[in-house]
């Protein structure tokens, strides 16, 4: 058993170093596959973060007529909190709205002057409503429109939000389905590329495999070195891919952050370095193992 294991390791290493150019070709193809794989993981993170940010920014603002007293608004808020679709409601009083507006436009002297001229607070109190799910915003707006307090409202800030809501929802679904399909498709393409390169390497050894079979080599003893060679190629490819992606992130990190502000792709990469490395290595090992197994099967039929 130990003699067999030792022999399998020795033969695998010999195979890897004997056909240098074929090994280089196999590893290069696997590196390409792994770069695609890891890029999809990073793209998926960026897309999900973008969607989450958009979803966090989404809300419904309902503005009350100036004459509606605060206690009535708070009652309406309590009533709305009974709606199971609603996660959270923030009450913004007239004074708070004015303070926030002043703060926001403190560098705009025209607005400052206009407020001084008006003297009185022109803003109205409002309720900012967050839904439990982005898909529920339309239903909440409909509920408000059908409510008894509808005539106490000045405006419902819904038109713009409604568009964003449906767009973000569509985007979220598309990203989920798209990245799933892309991962499957590219994993399949990576497999085909690696499989054919490894098959070429094994083809050059078909005579050796045939002789092994004819002198009584068992399938697993013949397969062993090739499978181990495939695993080693996957492992080496994973190391090279990690090196390349790390170098790209180190060199172009600032540019990536500028291009995708607020996503934190670079910090995500470094904080999840080992997780990404592990996923990518597992993908590389499976790619090498499955490709070698399938490529070899054809020649083991003797």
């Amino acid at each position: 058993m130990i003699a067999n294991l030792k022999r399998i390791i020795q033969t695998a290493w010999k195979g890897l170093t004997r056909n240098k150019w074929l090994s280089v070709a196999c590893i290069t193809m696997m590196v390409l596959s792994l770069i695609i794989f890891t890029s999809i993981l990073l793209f998926n993170y960026a897309a999900n973060t973008l969607i989450r940010t958009l979803q966090d920014k989404m809300d419904i603002s309902i503005y009350f007529k100036a004459e509606i007293p605060e206690e009535d608004i708070l009652k309406i808020r309590d009533e709305l909190l009974g709606n199971e679709l609603i996660a959270k409601i923030d009450y913004v009083s007239k004074d708070e709205a004015l303070a926030a507006f002043k703060e926001k436009s403190k560098y705009n002297p025209t607005i400052q002057k206009a407020l001084e001229v008006l003297g009185d607070n022109p803003l109205t109190a409002s309720l900012n409503i967050k839904a439990k799910s982005t898909a529920d915003y339309s239903k909440i707006v409909e509920d408000i429109n059908n409510s008894a307090f509808k005539d106490k409202l000045e405006t419902i800030n819904l038109t713009e939000n409604q568009k964003i809501v449906s767009q973000v929802d569509r985007l979220a679904k598309a990203v989920k389905i798209g990245s799933g399909v892309a991962i499957l498709l590219l994993a399949f393409l990576s497999f085909i590329i690696s499989f054919n390169t490894i098959r070429m390497a094994i083809y050059s050894l078909k005579e050796e495999i045939e002789i092994m079979k004819l002198v009584g080599g068992s399938n697993w003893l013949i397969r062993g070195p090739f499978l181990l060679e495939g695993l080693l190629q996957g492992l080496i490819a994973s190391f090279i891919t990690t090196l390349i992606i790390s170098l790209v992130i180190l060199s172009f990190g600032a540019k990536i952050e500028n291009f995708l502000p607020g996503i934190g792709l670079v910090s995500y990469f470094w904080s999840h370095f080992w997780f990404l490395f592990m996923l990518q290595t597992v993908f590389g090992l499976v790619l090498g193992l499955v490709s070698s197994f399938w490529a070899l099967n054809h020649y083991l039929k003797v």
């Binding site: 003699a3 022999r7 005579e207 004819l214 002198v215 009584g216 068992s218 003893l221 013949i222």
Partner: protein, 227 residues
């Protein structure tokens, strides 16, 4: 109990009949020459015995086991009990004579100690002890064939199949190889020699099975090549 039993075996390729209803037995320790013109089906018959090919009809038994029913590990074991000497040698070009012989032990899972002990002994038996470090291209055709015989012998098989082993050799090397096969047979291993060399068969004076048009036309103890 026969070592080999072919029971009504037929083989056809794409509807073209190569072997037709072949039946014969072979005992342990026997030396049998299988003769016939080129293309008569001698190689196909040998290939079926190591299950490189499967019969279209009939059954082949080795030590009373139907070889068509052997699973992966059992098939490997069968091939270790049957050593094959190929006309085209089938040696690995990038390995020395020693490594080519050792290779058959490696794939069978023998330890390094066993390999270091057994390979030189077998190389000595085929008189190649001084050429152990030579690669196939550094060996003459006769020496290459002796390396193949050493490889076939290394696992102490019960049967040696020799498929036109002298087809690529000059007369001197031819007789060296035949003498070696006789010597191996005298040590107790059965030999099935496929050949179309009349002189060899007639000089050996052993059992001869003659094939013609895919059928056995003669099976005689101390037979002659009469086709």
């Amino acid at each position: 109990m026969s070592l080999v039993y072919f029971k009504n075996v037929s083989k056809s390729y794409n509807g073209f009949l190569i072997l037709d209803n072949i039946t014969f037995t072979m005992e342990a320790g026997e030396f049998v020459s299988l003769v016939g013109r080129s293309g008569v089906g001698k190689t196909t018959l040998l290939k079926m015995l190591i299950r490189e090919e499967l019969p279209t009809k009939g059954k082949i038994y080795f030590n009373e086991r139907d070889i068509a029913k052997l699973k992966g590990a059992e098939l490997a074991l069968l091939r270790r009990k049957i050593g094959v000497v190929f006309q085209d040698f089938k040696l690995l070009a990038d390995r020395t004579a020693f490594e080519n012989v050792a290779f058959a032990m490696e794939v069978a899972g023998y330890s390094e100690e066993d390999i270091k002990k057994d390979v030189p002994e077998v190389l000595k038996l085929v008189n190649l002890q001084d050429k152990a470090d030579h690669f196939p291209h550094q060996l003459s055709a006769g020496e290459r064939q002796r390396t193949v015989i050493a490889r076939a012998l290394i696992q102490r098989p019960e049967l040696i199949l020799a498929d036109e082993p002298t087809g690529n050799l000059d007369p001197i090397n031819t007789w060296e190889i035949i003498k070696l096969l006789v010597k191996i047979n005298e040590l107790g291993t059965a030999v099935l020699l496929a050949t179309h060399d009349k002189e060899i068969v007639n000089t050996l004076g052993r059992r001869v099975i003659s094939l013609e048009n895919g059928k056995i036309i003669r099976d005689e103890q101390e037979g002659k090549y009469l086709i």
